[in-house]
Symmetry: C2
């Protein structure tokens, strides 16, 4: 193990590793249930804003801009704890999700379909907790507001 | 919304979206505690093997090869549930982690450091659940066995 990888993995210096596009993967889980709400990305500004404000900011790859979660919908995420992984190329946000959901499709979590296990060949997904908890068309009035990544 | 994005987001066809490197992000959480254990990547073979066997396979970006979690350490992950997100570019594995930990540094989770919130400027991390639960040097005898991503 090089000194550098030892510093990254065992040290207390925060050395977030952004990818070639300047982004780092961020996983938001519900602080109460532990469910994964969403997987998104942050650039340096989004990370800085998240640390400073304690609310989740991301970078939208589709809209190519900084994005405060909930800026359109009001469904902000209060960050209870922010953690970084061993090689500092992924972030975990434990959040209190404000409002009925985190997903732009109108659901609490983006992960509302399961992949059945124990089989080969083509896969048919199965819905899980897939009932819509809000109407995304009512929340996101203009397409520009759609919180796509 | 185009028909295609509607199919991806609302349909039951499994259409995993691999990135330019042929990889998809996979988040493994502890099925009991809800803690995020690791963030890794799968290629098509890793995903196929995971679905078929019900045990987690990944693709190691550093070693550039398919990797069954636990193949060196015995610390396999039994997948309790596999889910895909709205735009099908991220996977969530709820797993039963065999053995003392998932992280190659010798800890249960890769996320053993917190980023303090509410501040600007340089950040000093804080250890969280950072006690080593196994000796990685004893488990991974040869450097080639080191389960880096």
């Amino acid at each position: 193990m090089t000194k550098s990888s030892n510093e990254i993995e065992e040290g207390l210096a925060f050395l977030p590793k952004f990818d070639a596009d300047g982004l780092i993967t961020a996983v938001a889980t519900d602080a109460k249930s532990g469910d994964v709400l969403m997987v998104a990305h942050m650039n340096a500004d989004a990370l800085r804003n998240t640390i400073r404000t304690g609310e989740a900011w991301y970078y939208s790859r589709s809209r190519k801009r900084l994005w405060k979660k909930g800026e359109s919908s009001g469904h902000i995420q209060r960050v209870v704890e922010l953690r970084v992984d061993c090689d500092q190329d992924a972030l975990w946000l434990k959040v209190e999700q404000e409002g009925p959901g985190a997903c732009h499709t109108g659901r609490r979590s983006c992960f509302y379909r399961a992949v059945p296990l124990g089989q080969s060949g083509p896969v048919t997904l199965e819905f899980r907790n897939a009932d819509k908890t809000f109407d995304p068309h009512a929340i996101y009035a203009a397409p520009a507001n759609k919180p796509r990544r």
